[in-house]
């Protein structure tokens, strides 16, 4: 495998994370628990769609087959999407959305901080820009995790059950294969091991403050990074791709 090919695969993964999570969060628009949160969630969705655009456009360039960000976002089959299973999970209640966001933001902040120093200039530039946004997202989601965990009995039990449901998708965040090995060797991407340690430390800290308990069930589910998804992705893509599939080859 060549570096360029590996980098295409890698950028696709993190671009798909932004795209699919951005889609999920955008489903909240107009339905938030309070107007201020409606605005905050819409803003997060907007940032994620912006990051997806930058990343997928870059992936298209790396691939060199004339596909741009839109072609990659709207015209692939489900097995070709490389996002984490975590980000395609349904919104559930506000607590589940926040918890999913928190698990992701904590990882993404650590990743982007390191990618800012990538030897690949384009990737580093995208990371620098995205990091500013992602730090806000993390501040927002971690504050809500604490508030809901340490709020009422009801909010505590709701967010604890979201944590119980989503925890099995967290191990995949640190998935690494030959793509990562090659890119890491060239200083393009950081080691996942370091990120995993810091992530575990960080989320444990927030959960402790929120009075939440990390599930002891160690069963872990993965597959997203290799294109094996949960049942939820198909429905998401049916909506996301609707216009491009129903009206092919048109300008919008």
């Amino acid at each position: 495998m060549e570096t360029k090919e590996a980098l295409f695969e890698y950028v696709l993964r993190i671009g798909d994370d932004s795209l699919i999570l951005g889609h999920r969060v955008s489903e909240w628009c107009g339905h938030g628990p309070i107007l201020e949160e409606d605005i905050a969630l819409t803003n997060i969705a907007l940032d994620l769609i912006g990051q997806a655009t930058n990343l997928l456009d870059y992936a298209g360039q790396l691939e060199g087959k004339g596909r741009d960000g839109d072609a990659l976002a709207f015209l692939r089959y489900d097995r070709e999407y490389k996002n984490l299973l975590l980000v395609e999970q349904t919104n559930g209640d506000f607590g589940k959305t926040i918890l999913r966001q928190f698990l992701f933001d904590a990882y993404r902040t650590l990743l982007l901080t390191r990618l800012s120093k990538s030897t690949d200039e384009q990737l580093s530039a995208i990371a620098v820009k995205s990091l500013k946004e992602t730090k806000y997202h993390l501040k927002h989601s971690s504050e809500w995790v604490i508030r809901l965990g340490d709020g009422t009995e009801d909010s505590h039990s709701r967010i604890q059950s979201s944590l119980d449901a989503l925890w099995k998708y967290t191990d995949e965040i640190f998935f690494a294969n030959e793509v990562d090995a090659l890119l890491e060797k060239e200083g393009i991407i950081p080691s996942m091991e370091g990120i995993k340690n810091e992530w575990t430390f960080f989320v444990s800290d927030i959960f402790a403050e929120a009075g939440l308990v990390i599930p002891t069930n160690n069963w872990k589910q993965e597959g997203g990074r290799t294109g094996r998804h949960t049942e939820h992705l198909g429905y998401l893509l049916a909506e996301l791709q609707y216009m491009q599939r129903a009206y092919p080859d048109m300008k919008w």
Partner: protein, 315 residues
């Protein structure tokens, strides 16, 4: 003696209005002026919030990444407008949550245009072009409204609305110049939204009993019919420019008046929709009510958490 005082207060109040001096929250104002503003501004705020729904309906199906981002930004702006407007309502002594509950019980109204469904992507163009276009016509004069907080909120709102109007026109003109399917989609959206957009200016002047008082108080600067005519005059040439047909066989440029004459609006439909019988009235209010109900536990948790922190800090 007391009556005399009120008369004097009212005289001074009207004098300020006549001299174009803004009324501020702490100034004395007649109770009817306050109530008129509470009704109008909260109605406006509700329109922004309910208006998020028909467009929000297409965010997950936007045809490309750029359109998706622009639509998200636009709907987010509307939420922001709702926030400033609810704040303006609060300066009049009304409670934001109470006014929202009035929306949910059907007591408070909002712009009836949002009770029409958005069934195609072209509707995102038609809404920006026509609905935001009509909103700008209504709102630009409100920047000179006699009540300071409302006038100032409108200055900011209008800047963003003009961006919304342009993005809508861009969507629809691209479709109008696109493939036959796209052109048909654009024409269909115009056919469905044209008359409801004209209705946005409210009943004819003869049927609008509050207009006179509102004009005297300079809450309103132009009448419904004046604004509607202005809208038609601006919009018809735009439709012609992009090759779409306005669905009105009576539409004709009148050389004598320099304005477009247009057909009779179906006011029976307008009043039905206002009464709650539009295609989506129930869906829109239900969606807003559901958001509030589903969010109750979140708001309770935030309050409980804040309370705990306060106690912790004190001890």
């Amino acid at each position: 003696m007391k009556d005399l005082n009120i008369q004097e207060l009212e005289r001074r109040f009207q004098e300020k209005i006549d001299n174009d001096i803004k009324i501020e929250p702490r100034d004395w104002m007649p109770e009817e002026y306050r109530q008129t503003l509470i009704r109008q501004i909260s109605q406006h705020a509700h329109s922004e919030i309910v208006g998020m729904l028909p467009e929000g309906n297409w965010i997950t199906r936007a045809p490309n990444l750029r359109r998706k981002a622009v639509l998200l930004a636009k709907v987010q702006d509307e939420a922001g407008h709702g926030l400033y407007l609810y704040s303006a309502v609060e300066t009049l002594g009304a409670d934001r949550e109470q006014t929202i509950d009035d929306l949910h019980t059907g007591k408070a109204k909002y712009s009836s245009i949002f009770n029409y469904p958005t069934t195609s992507w072209a509707d995102m163009g038609a809404i920006g072009w026509l609905v935001d276009g009509a909103a700008i016509m209504n709102q630009v004069p409100l920047c000179r409204c006699s009540y300071g907080p409302y006038a100032r909120a409108m200055v900011r709102v209008c800047k963003e609305e003009s961006f919304h109007q342009r993005q809508g026109f861009e969507i629809i003109s691209l479709l109008a110049q696109g493939t036959p399917e796209q052109k048909e989609m654009a024409q269909d959206a115009l056919n469905r939204f044209w008359w409801p957009a004209l209705m946005m200016f409210g009943p004819n002047d003869a049927e609008s009993p509050n207009t006179l008082q509102s004009m005297k108080w300079k809450i309103k600067r132009l009448t419904n019919d004046e604004l509607r005519q202005q809208f038609v005059d601006v919009t018809v040439p735009q439709a012609h420019m992009i090759g779409l047909t306005i669905p009105d066989k009576d539409l004709k440029f009148n050389e004598e008046t320099g304005h477009y004459d247009f057909g009779v609006i179906d006011w029976a439909e307008f009043w039905e929709v206002v009464k709650g019988n539009g295609p989506c009235n129930k869906e829109r209010v239900d969606a807003r009510r559901k958001a509030k109900e589903d969010g109750q536990w979140v708001r309770d948790a935030a309050m409980a958490y804040a309370e705990k922190r306060k106690i912790q800090k004190a001890s």
